[in-house]
Amino acid sequence: MPVQGAPRRKVGLIVNPIAGIGGRVGLKGSDGLEIQRLALSLGATPEAGERARAALVPLLPLAADLELLAAPAEMGEDAAREAGFGPTVIGAIRSGETTAADTRRIAGEMRDAGVDLVLFAGGDGTARDICDAIGSDLAALGVAAGVKVYSAVFAVNPRSAGELAAAFLRGQAVTHAGEVLDLDEEAYRAGRVSPSLHGYLRVPFRAGSVQGGKSPSPPSERGAAEAIAHDVVGRMVPGRWYILGPGTTTLAIADRLGFQKTLVGVDVVTLDGLQLADATERQLRDVVTAHATTVIVTPIGGQGFIFGRGNPQIGPRVLEHVGRGDLLVVATPAKLAALQGRPLLVDTGDPVVDASLAGYLPVITGYRESTVYRVST
């Protein structure tokens, strides 16, 4: 229902036409023209376009108030037309030879054209490209079309993506920072999963609730993170060193201490200030050897990993020196609730260290609020 006086909303659509192409034929991932050609020769057919079309269906009722900007041909225009839209085509490509660079360039053009939301179909790689182009400048939401995705920027399925996009455009959803994880494709194909944190996208999530019920709107993640920060900073003591892993909750701790946190890296602080920014594993080992240190981490991504996804710098040698007694896990209640009873996970690469961390760990969840949560390997 058109809102009187509201400006026309704009959505950008980018499809990675070869996303997921490897998965169906047993290849992991699809980065690189080599893999793509191999997959096509094995009979793989691109799915991302069809996923994108399905995601657009819930947006049709808004069509009158919506301008849909699509990348050309197989990068979005085709899917848009199939869904029943008459898109504004933006950008230029060489059809049949599209690359990540096209994704990045066109995403930037969409931002410059003032879109409110970029809807993209692809995998972690595509998310990484979108992230490189627009960062958290505007909202973005992924439709999964690759193999298993690690980044916390994708909707559950195409239909949900469309519904969420529609809710966002109607003003019924807010955004939060979703982690984009960067998977080393070769390591992955060799069976070793070791993603690092690449950056964040600003992802819509549904805040809407019907007013007046017994349980009003859910808390903002930012507010919850601030409460945790308040608590953690209150516990800090002079002379002690603190290793701060990446994540939005540890970001709030940095904010409270008054320094700019390395978005995807590990920082080291004391009450006197920032000691090391974006530390390497080596540097962290030196720190824990020289000083009494506490490691502060928060789960990264949607699966609940506190080690092993996004913070490889805090490696097993660092952890075995510090010990579980000087490990401080922080997480908002919503993050823990999303685990739905599943444990937090550790995957440092060293099973002995992993075992030493398993069991029950205290987790700070707010100001003077905590839980004791199960950690598993």
């Binding site: 009187q4 019907v210 007013q211 007046g212 349980s215 009003p216 859910p218 808390p219 919850a224 409460a227």
Partner: protein
């Protein structure tokens, strides 16, 4: 039904409850009255052992008073829809939302403040929360409270605040009965988050120096919380007029029967800005448009970090079932009374109270210690010179069908052999004359 769910006995449904936790005998309760008429007879029989303020002449006040309850108030709060709804959404309980929004609005006019909460339990909770709000607003942890508040409120405040807030009670002047401003000054410093006093005070006195009090408190960076009797606001300035930041009080006088002290509701009001609203633990209903032009919708003015339902233990206190039906009742009362009614009732109460003070004060041996001050509906009577105790006098009055004023000797011993008498618009001249005559007889 059992067949449908595949159980052969009800006991199977309780299979999860271990034997050791079970009660292996029936509950030891009296034989029930399953027929309605039998139940009525039983309860009526017990209630018959009560004497009420309807068939006796009562001058009791001290936080609960017999005011006029319009029949339409009872009519509306008996409506099954209002009585049996709970916390539904703004659609299926739209009427409840609108009625409470209108209550908030009418209280806003009474208090001249744009933000009013959905009520909390009672005036004590409103005062306690008002003081915690002051602490949150300022980041300080000491509060100053007038010593002339009910002893029960002092008890409540200590219980509710003591975990992290220190409460200091400020004396009143012996001669005037008003808040001792010098004592206030002595304690006002940068550690004080808020100051609470009541106007009229517990002893019925009206303090006209509110602006001066506010000036001193604000100079120290503290928050002024004033507790008021809403039925006085037809004739008295609301606290906002003299600089209060937060106004609190109890709704009982606005169309709610006393119910042996069970008919209570607590209001909290303030300026309408984010800084204040974020500190309310209560629900706050607001007007909103709907998808159809011209329709009134309602919802909650919500902060993510505000109520306990959203933030669990980070809560600014908590919110829950409190006094919604009394909010609706108070709204009905204020709508029935209107501006003229509120002015008349306030004027009538003050006139009757003054008449009673004069008549009683004229009795030999009886003194009205603060007679020179302005009173609203209550006043202190000093029996010290009569040689009789208040308890004694009240016993004698009771035998004559009169409930004498609350005995203050235990609560405020520094006042001597005193009682707190309450006069409302429900007292007639004959009632007051009878009090005076009977008191004189009793004391003779």
């Amino acid at each position: 039904m059992l067949a449908a769910i595949g159980a052969s006995t009800i006991a199977e449904l309780y299979a999860d409850i271990p034997d050791a936790l079970r009660l292996h005998r029936p509950l030891d309760l009296p034989q029930p009255f399953t027929a309605e008429a039998d139940l009525v007879r039983h309860v009526d029989g017990i209630l018959a052992r009560n004497r009420t303020t309807a068939d006796n002449l009562s001058f009791l006040g001290a936080g609960c008073a017999r005011h006029f309850v319009p029949v339409v108030c009872d009519e509306i709060n008996s409506r099954g829809e209002f009585l049996t709804a709970y916390s539904g959404h703004a659609y299926e309980e739209h009427g409840r939302f609108q009625a409470i929004f209108e209550y908030q609005s009418m209280m806003g006019e009474l208090l001249e403040m744009d933000a009013v909460n959905v009520p909390t339990y009672d005036g004590f909770q409103a005062a306690a929360t008002g003081l915690r709000m002051a602490a949150r607003l300022t980041g300080r942890n000491r509060v100053l409270v007038s010593a002339h508040v009910p002893a029960d409120l002092r008890s409540k405040l200590v219980d509710y605040l003591e975990s992290d807030i220190e409460t200091v009670f400020i004396a009143h002047e012996a001669s005037t009965g008003l808040l001792d401003l010098e004592a206030l000054d002595r304690h006002l410093d940068e550690s004080v988050a808020g100051v609470y006093f009541e106007n009229p005070s517990y002893l019925g006195l009206i303090d006209h120096r509110g602006a001066e009090v506010a000036r001193r408190i604000h100079a120290a960076g503290a928050v002024l919380v004033v507790g008021v009797d809403p039925i006085s606001l037809g004739v008295l300035q609301p606290p906002a007029a003299y600089g209060a930041d937060i106004a609190t009080g109890d709704l009982q006088a606005l169309g709610i029967h006393m119910q042996y002290g069970g008919g209570l509701g607590g209001f909290i009001a303030s300026a309408d800005d984010r800084r204040h609203l974020v500190e309310y633990p209560s629900r706050l209903y607001g007007l909103a448009p709907t998808s159809v032009s011209g329709e009134y919708g309602f919802g909650e003015v919500m902060f993510d970090d505000r109520t306990s339902f959203a933030k669990r233990e980070n809560a600014r206190e908590w919110t829950g079932t409190a006094a919604a039906l009394w909010a609706i009742t108070a709204g009905v009362y204020l709508a029935l009374m209107g501006p003229a009614g509120m002015a008349e009732v306030g004027d009538g109460i003050m006139a009757r109270a003054r008449y009673a003070m004069d008549r009683v004060g004229a009795i030999p041996g009886v003194r009205i210690p603060f007679a020179a001050q302005h009173h609203f509906k209550e006043f202190v009577v000093d029996f010290g010179a009569t040689g009789r105790t208040v308890a004694d006098v009240n016993r004698a009055l009771l035998a004559r069908g009169i409930f004498g004023g609350r005995d203050l000797t235990g609560e405020l011993p520094e006042l001597g052999e005193t009682a707190l008498y309450c006069v409302t618009e429900m007292h007639t001249q004959a009632d007051i004359d009878r009090l005076a005559t009977d008191l004189e007889d009793v004391l003779a």
